[in-house]
Amino acid sequence: MTRDVLPHLRESATFDRAVIHEIQRAAETGIYDIRGWGAKRRVPHFDDLLFLGASMSRYPLEGYREKCATNVVLGTRYAKKPIEISTPITIAGMSFGALSAQAKEALGRGASIVGTSTTTGDGGMTPEEREHSKILVYQYLPSRYGMNPDDLRKADAIEVVLGQGAKPGGGGMLLGQKITERVAKMRTLPVGVDQRSACRHPDWTGPDDLAIKIEELREITDWEKPIYVKIGATRTYYDVKLAVKAGADVVVLDGMQGGTAATQEVFIEHVGIPILAAIPQAVQALQEMNVHRNGVQLIVSGGIRTGADVAKALALGADAVAIGTAALIALGCNHPRWDAEYRKLGSAAGFYDDYHLGQDPAGISTQDPELAKRLDPVVGGRRIANYLRVLTMEAQIIARACGKSHLLNLEPEDLVALTVEAAAMARVPLAGTNWIPGES
């Protein structure tokens, strides 16, 4: 762009305008940049994969006449009451605190309309959320804010959170503006503090302890609930093996593109690996332990946007996906109708990521009652349901084209990669070749 205007000016690839701005900002404020959203840099992703539709050697299914099922059962390993979701797309854990009560309710309503699950977050379970969520997963985080046995028993599943893709190795963060009286009370914190929650669990360290912790949670809930273990994608192969050994029913794997409510920019962009690289590692670990598609389910997240992303994740071996950022966008986050207000905040529709400030014009990542009122939970719920249905139908279109009567019948053999990097990470051949870098 600069070249068009002033052709003699040359922008540095190393010190581009964003970098220069960040150096100036750091020098002025003396503090790192905090923001929401996930990694914004380009990394190898599902876009770098393509499906091989059916033709001569495979035959496709008819769009309207032949069924392509979408239901998935989670927690079949040890839980007395596994969960059945009617589409393999779940709503990821996002805290009340980070999000308004209305936003949480809308997510619950939307998920319930289509028969899938939603998840609490780093701030406990609100009654609104429980009431409007048919299937609610209760997160068990290092902070344990609001953790209590009654809510544990009310949950349909328990998700022990070890990490998040946006910040593997980091704890939660909620700045003072969002610690209103209700949020403070639920978290047992003084109103207005900058909350920095723990990055490690307070009463266990390491996989051997985790096994004992999981057993305690099962004991407290009489072995009824599926227990998930959520990890940020880093040393995925080993972490998944250890999670399974510790007794997880479900492994939740979140890649580096995964969203967050507030994390240091340097953390979001530089720690963790893309979900594309992590899924095959997780699947390999599960296969080697004989539990892949056989007792332990894998839910993956981090940058899921379309039915194609869903289909690709399942083809690589996931049993379901979770969505965070895309669900917020479906609710109205970054909608052009708020552009003027985003600009007043120094941002613009399509770029807004200051979830931590609590001034969201769309009323989603805020605790300001006036802003939060802008989001009608019933309307929001319908938008979420619409979006989840579109994702499901899109995934079915692809699955039928590949000749599959269930979304989970998609397989790596249906995929090729567009780039050498994606081929190596996803362990599928480069398009037009038989070449899987590192394997053949």
């Binding site: 404020t29 953790m147 046995p149 544990l152 047992t188 003084p190 266990w204 912790k213 004991e219």
Partner: protein, 227 residues
Amino acid sequence: MMKFDLASHSVRELNQLLHEQARQLTEREWLVLNPGGAHSIACGIDQELSVTIDGHCGYYCAGMNKKAHVTIRGNAGVGVAENMMSGVVRVLGDASQSAGATAHGGLLVIEGNASARCGIAMKGIDIVVKGSVGHMSAFMGQAGRLVVCGDAGDALGDSLYEVRIYVRGKVRSLGADCIEKPMREEHLKELRELLARADVDADPRDFRRYGSARQLYNFKVDNAAAY
């Protein structure tokens, strides 16, 4: 009194019976024999029961307890009474790490010593330790009171929120943002009550009080070294 022998029955059977008492109370007094260091004994109770465990327990004994009085005639493993909501848990021996972690309410009495991170992330529980506590005790403690009749290890009360800490012996070192505070009449009074509730014979005037300096509550560049 119901006697339950863990030498011949499982922890699962015991906990199931204890949980059923929340729906239909058939027996208030329980004696658990031969615990043998098993994990998760008597966790998740939600009833006014009196449970005595005759021996040593593993991890998370009386975890998430509500209402019950649980006595351990022995030592307790990691995370005794973790996330307790109400009731009383009494350990006659020593307790391992993270005793009373994240607990919201009730009273935890440890007649021996407690190891590291006693009261970590506590959210309203009262903990009284007759002996000493290890390092990082009350780390990130949010609410409640920790009373130590012996000494405290390194980094007591690190990153503390609103927990009040009383120590009779020596404090090896204070953690970030934890300071000594004056003992006023109201503190002597609350400490006296706590000691009485815990059935510990000690003079409140021999204790010092520690709490949060509240300097880390909101991020300030000048405090960067402490973060």
